[in-house]
Symmetry: C2
Subunit: 149 residues, 2 copies
């Protein structure tokens, strides 16, 4: 099922193509940035738990992992070519290196889906390892596609 | 199960209370506004379908309903008393009429959870009716807790 979520996401993007074309570029940017804001909200506490900076709370991990699983499927249609000229932190590679961008997007979705699954089990060490894998996928994505902050 | 999601949300809010206290008020506002941005993104097309302004697409309805079910559980901890003085569209009633606010929040979550369930069935008329119910819950919430736009 490696690419299933992304494949579905792509099919959706194609299916909603006509509708998307009507959404203003600045709105698309606002929407995709909203996703990142919420990814930060729900990943932050997990990162802190994985690093031992906050006490481990399995209930919060499960909830946040479910939210993150959904959020990881939301931003991609916001990177429409119409947004190229909009002010944002997106690097040109987002639009110029489609294959690599889709690979990074797919990786984030797969790692997040896996975190959701692992969080349903009771293996704290496995959950923490998978939180690390999601963090790495975020980092790899930012490294290649987002301006340094 | 009428209040189950909200009850869980409340328990989470209490559990994360210590962590929340460290999040700056302006970040809390940004996070809750991000949720509304995405609720608009994913509810908009459903509203159009329910009103016959866009062709009905069961696959998109299911996806969006799943996203909305998650999103409807995200904003509430952002309405922390520390955000009272922040610039936003929130009316004082958010902080002054806690029981009514929680009731409206709970209603939105319940109607959205129901939409998610109904969207899994094949009854287009029932789905459209439930999209209307979610829209009404949004509207009721805005009427009482958000400044007129």
């Amino acid at each position: 099922m490696k690419k299933s979520f992304f494949a579905v996401g792509l099919a959706m993007t194609l299916a909603t193509g006509a509708a998307m074309a009507q959404v203003k570029p600045e709105i698309l940017v606002k929407q995709r940035q909203a996703v990142m804001t919420l990814q930060g909200k729900y990943f932050g506490p997990l990162g802190a738990m994985a690093q031992g900076k906050a006490p481990y709370n399995a209930q919060i991990v499960q909830r946040n992992a479910g939210f993150l699983d959904n959020l990881s499927r939301m931003p991609w249609d916001g990177f429409d070519p119409s947004t190229k000229g909009e002010k944002s932190h997106a690097l040109p590679a987002v639009f110029n290196d489609d294959a690599k961008f889709k690979e990074a997007a797919s990786r984030l979705q797969n790692e997040t889906a896996k975190l959701y699954q692992v969080s349903r089990g009771g293996d704290e060490a496995a959950v923490k390892a998978q939180i690390g894998a999601v963090g790495k996928a975020c980092g790899g994505y930012h490294e290649n596609f987002r301006q340094k902050q």
